[in-house]
Symmetry: C2
Subunit: 342 residues, 2 copies
Amino acid sequence: MKGHQTTIVDLAKQLNFSKSTVSRALTGHPNVNPETRKAVLELAEKLDYQRNMHAISLITSKSSTIGIIVPEFISSYFPQVILGAQEVATQAGYNIIISQSNESYETEVANAKVMLANQVDGLMVSITKETRNFDHLKVFVRKGIPIVFFNRVCDEMIVPKVVVDDYEGAFTAVEHLIQTGKKRIAHLAGPNSLSISVRRLNGYLDALRKHSLPVIEELIIPYDFTPEKVNIYVNHLLNLKKRPDAIFAINDPTAIEAIQVIKKRGLKIPEDIAVVGFSNDYVSSLIEPSLTTVSQPVQKIGQAAIELLLDQIKRDVSEWKAVTRMLNTELIIRNSTVSDPS
Amino acid sequence: MKGHQTTIVDLAKQLNFSKSTVSRALTGHPNVNPETRKAVLELAEKLDYQRNMHAISLITSKSSTIGIIVPEFISSYFPQVILGAQEVATQAGYNIIISQSNESYETEVANAKVMLANQVDGLMVSITKETRNFDHLKVFVRKGIPIVFFNRVCDEMIVPKVVVDDYEGAFTAVEHLIQTGKKRIAHLAGPNSLSISVRRLNGYLDALRKHSLPVIEELIIPYDFTPEKVNIYVNHLLNLKKRPDAIFAINDPTAIEAIQVIKKRGLKIPEDIAVVGFSNDYVSSLIEPSLTTVSQPVQKIGQAAIELLLDQIKRDVSEWKAVTRMLNTELIIRNSTVSDPS
DNA sequence: CTGTTAGCGCTTTCAC
DNA sequence: GTGAAAGCGCTAACAG
């Protein structure tokens, strides 16, 4: 027999109660005879009874589930954010459905549909590098399901967002390079569809300007997060007549790839060329040379996102607030910019 | 207004059809007038209609959802396995709910309950290092919900499993150390509650025996995956009167920690002491020295697990098959054992 | 304190 | 080809 799921009716029959009473006993309703409750709970335990969330969700139109959509799963960034998110969500009695869009817009749209069909009570999203159209996310708002963006946000949607101060982080990182005497600083920039790329680029530009360094167009290379291409771009930079003496990369994976390429070319880091990343991935402290990078409070990002989401869930649509929480970054100086950081 | 979800009744009313017809149009039932279907589909699109999975699950007792429980999220191993799993699952029309138990038995039990309440159609699990009691998982089998284990499996449950040939992998790794001339090979072993630890330990032991090397008890150190402790254990090993000339670590994170400690002590790798890991984490090729390790086909593991699960889901409980798929590993030789691997 | 009734959104016979 | 009615498992008034 295909195992029959125990229901409250089964419990009710065996105990000679109505299913309402059983339901009340199970949900902790106050008006239940303690003995009745005890009997119900015991039998439930004995028969492996489990509440059917689908039935409950159907009634309440709440699923106690929060959806999370991330572009990827491979760098340590997103898993760690999710860790923080899961912590807060679990505490508040919410489950989490995760899906990753693999940097594909199509997949993101499909994932969003699934979240909708599963009646998530809220959605936490970081968009793919391809995403330009946001209809699949606007539906949520229209239906009264709150959304929170983090990291890669959608500027045109007025909803809560959790970001770090990318501008400031980038500015500080580049200023640090300048202070170590670098003058031709290249930037491996992110796709400019993402505001995060733009903010980091601006931080880079302003740092140069502040220190009266020229902005050299050929040193600014936008790329699309395809790791294989870093190879090409870095080699291109190194082959310039006047090659850069430093590289500020949009993120750590990129910086790490860059370091590999530079090492292969036999150049010295940081003497010939310094490298800075962004995010402080798990790997960054382990590689040789260890990577100077802008650290983000990953877990806190996840926590903050869920907190904002829960707050929205509590409110009526008319009282939704589109706060943006901007968290601080911290420059971690390591050997890729300073031979001996004290 | 808290956004009202469009239902088939809404569609039916606006089109002057019964909800049955709308339902049939939506689900692709053959007996529907093509024009009717077209009208329904168009209106559905226009009104952002989304099928309510809870209602459907309630009727069918199927959720088209597969649960995955993993012990952690930080090493690259599990995310990558999940990647492979998600691919196959999505293809087959299944969604995935992921939860991570944080190496805590309690959390694992709670997660399992959630999966049950959500009526997952199948469960894919890698247990925590603490898990000794399996009642929370046996419930699934009793209820006719198939389970598949991977990586960290439960020996006492007769269900499908996906593992790699840990014994062989460990054997090969240790034999490699021996062939490079190492004679006092230590083993940072996993908790022996996990069969995976035992299998790798056996591979280690048999390799020593095959080459007539003595098994030295004090060189075998079981530990519980708490990264901070690696420091202590490795220092302990290095302080022995006769210190080991190689370390075979249960996994890459451990090996990487060990390398840091050894470097800090000013010893040369691999000359003074060689190190081998297990899993070929993303980091392993990037650190200095790069890590010799036993590579696992991570994505394939995820794919295989879901394939086995889908197969069980199709069958009646009476026809369940408890196959174990054992995948092969591959030794990747890098600088932590050979100064210049050609 | 407990039982009765209705209904959440959908699929699925069974009629027509 | 379409409609009417029943029911999945559960909660939530409303009675008593």
